[in-house]
């Protein structure tokens, strides 16, 4: 008796929650909520606070997409995913959008059936060591013990790098960044390797950041980007152009503060198109005219998001570097809104 009733309630719940995954936009609109896959906890990129409010660089992108699609940046359900569950969560339809600092690689894009919609952070894998070790180059790490997160591309890069340089190492496999910090601080590994941004974030949080150095070698390219399911191009377009809208907004000097004012006063035709003053670009991707405006209003343009979460004013303290606008010598280059 008890089972049947309870199972019934579950079945009903399942069916009510059930939704086709062919048209993600329609599903998200019907649900009234964007399911966004994020990291289980990486300060600066995505982490919940004591009340379960998520903040971070990736979280702000989720908010921008929710604002563009649903009109409300708060209508996001953050699904914490581990390195192991992230891609399955996306392909099974559990999340609509995966913003979990994932590296864009060939096999992930093709064999895993993901569609990376762009790069929101150009990263590379580096090493952090204690100053006392006297190591100044990754080439001197022969025989060292190295902490590495399992299930990431960094694991493969590390193996390749040491093999290519004819060196040996002892890996210490760890599950999360928190664990990696713990092990590294205790001296259970000589070096900690992950994306340079993650290293900087980790180092910044130490009590004595100056006694740790990040080695100059960057051993891999790690273009981190949000991904969507393969096969729903329209939804991919929405995510892609939301990202470009954020980047373009910075290029044209549109911030969350001057947004309304620029929408009225700007004479720049590209800004007018972007903010939906003249052309109706939104209609082409199944949204309304103001979609980009709302996306930018959610947490600001790309530069503002960067500065608020991981920029030099934050404890993470990352410089823009490769992630500066192309006009500033960086790689951030939004495709034209036309």
């Amino acid at each position: 008796m008890k089972t049947s009733v309870f199972l019934g309630s579950m079945a009903a719940g399942a069916l009510m929650a059930g939704a086709g995954m062919a048209d993600t936009l329609a599903d998200v609109k019907a649900r009234g909520e964007l399911n966004c896959g994020v990291n289980t906890g990486l300060v600066g990129f995505a982490a919940p606070d004591a009340n379960g409010n998520w903040t971070g660089f990736d979280v702000d992108f989720c908010k921008a997409v929710a604002a563009a699609v649903l009109g409300d940046p708060a209508k996001v359900k953050y699904v914490p995913t581990t390195g192991q569950t992230r891609f399955t969560a996306l392909s099974s339809g559990e999340v609509d959008l995966l913003a979990r600092n994932s590296t864009w690689t060939f096999s992930r894009d093709t064999d895993l059936k993901l569609d990376f919609i762009g790069v929101n952070y150009y990263d590379g894998q580096g090493f952090m060591v204690n100053k006392d070790l006297g190591v100044t180059s990754a080439k001197e790490l022969d025989g060292a013990t190295i902490c590495i997160q399992t299930g990431t591309t960094t694991e493969l890069n590390l193996a390749d790098y040491f093999k290519a340089n004819n060196m040996t190492y002892q890996p210490v496999n760890i599950d999360s960044n928190a664990e990696g910090e713990q092990q590294y601080m205790a001296g259970a590994c000589d070096a900690y390797t992950t994306d340079a941004s993650g290293l900087a974030a980790t180092r910044a949080a130490f009590a004595d950041p100056e006694s740790h150095i990040i080695l100059p070698e960057i051993i891999s390219k790690e273009p981190l980007g949000p991904a969507v399911r393969h096969g729903d191009s329209n939804w991919g377009d929405i995510a892609r152009w939301t990202l470009y809208a954020l980047i373009a907004a910075e290029e044209y000097g549109i911030t969350s503060k001057n947004l309304e004012e620029l929408a009225k006063s700007s004479q720049n035709p590209e800004v007018q198109r972007l903010l939906g003053v003249t052309d109706d670009l939104g209609a082409m991707i199944g949204l309304d005219k103001d979609w980009a405006k709302r996306a930018i209003a959610a947490s600001g343009n790309y530069g503002e998001i960067f500065a608020a979460n991981i920029g030099e004013q934050t404890p993470i303290g990352l410089a823009r570097g490769l992630n500066a606008q192309w006009t500033q010598g960086g790689l951030m280059y939004a495709m034209p809104f036309r």
Partner: protein, 484 residues
Amino acid sequence: MSETHAQTVPFVRDTMLPPAAPPVREAGAVRWLRQNLFSGPLNTVLTILGVLIVWFLVSHFWDWFAHSVWNADSLSDCRRIIAETWGEGARGACWAVVRERWNQYVYGFYPPELYWRPTMAFGLLFVALAPVLFSESVMIRRVVLALATVLTLWLMAVMGAPAAWLVFAAAVLVGALLISERQPSWLLVFSILYPLMGVWFLWGGSAWGPVMVLVGPVLGWIAWRLLGRASALVATVAALVVPLVWWIVFAGDAARDAESIVSLAIPAVASDRFGGFLLSITIGVAGIAMSLPLGIVLALARRSDMFLVKTLAVIFIEFIRGVPLIALLFVASLLLNYFLPPGTTFDIILRVIIMVTLFSAAYMAEVIRGGLAALPKGQYEAADALGLDYWKAQRLIVLPQALKISIPGIVSTFIGMFKDTTLVTFVGLYDPLKSMSDAVRASTSWKGIYWEPYIFVGFIFFLICFGMSRYSMYLERRLARDHR
């Protein structure tokens, strides 16, 4: 004889001596020590070893515990206080993290203004359990229910529960107390309804959902009564099919329509807000509530004469018992979506509960099978002699007794499952042990705090599991006496 030698005896005592005190080494503490600690060379060595172990533990950890800090904002604050109070270089525990993050450990990310809802659900859980677990002793039942009533109402009031809900909880709790005085088995109705109520309290939303789920069996019963006159076969089939059809086809729409007519909604809380002990207890209780009936069916199937049924049961049970729970959890998080029709997605907590249910059902089946086997053969024969058919014999004679014998086993299965709920951390849920502690450590103020969260969580688990195991041992003793 005595007379002849009377004169040779210089002194004959004619009064009794007062009893002398026993020798020092045979009395009091000394005697106890000799008997219990130093009764032989081996025991003396063991005792010294034991004392050394205790001394080692105390000397290494005493100062850490003694220097506990309960009021601080961050780990560095803690360390400063310890250094100020006990001097530079002193060690100390920083329990302030528990104090500051208590709510997060207990309720996860549940909205603070709704904390009273899980609290109420937890309080009412004891009412639902009363007829099952606390029916053995009137005294224990009274104490448990009275405590549950007072604590639940007090906590709800503190957490700012609306007055209407306070009245509701008070009515249920006090009502249960009164009913249980007269006829505890009436509370079984509440036990059956509780899972639906619990789901509604925890997740919120419209009450019409659970109500419409409940309508299913009622419709089935009506169909059975109506068609029973025509043909028993058709009636039985209808009683099974009607609720299924109702749930699959109509229940969702009916709930939505009813909600639009009369709204019975309370604020909904999404699954991603669940965490900490709330998550552990939810998964544990839901798992056990659903695995119990499934386990009974499996146990009966495994003892069945029917070859095919028995084989299927054995395969299922041995399969589940042969793989680690963690593998099943990964099935829940990675594969379950493959097994369902394309496009169906549902909540990770629900998926985890399903797998945990299947897992504990296999263990439950073995426990209940033990209970069935322990029942004297005469009981089965008596049921046959009375001419009861299989289901009647099971329902009226066998299961009530077998389940009663199995209660201690069921409780220890529950303890095992409750401990295993910590494994959900590996599929990205916020269990209290690892994920929640990691989340706490991720904040800048508590970065680097390591032992305190583990010890605290371990202590809470110990309290709950130890309490349950002691209670089940008590039950075991009581039940064993009944059967001798």
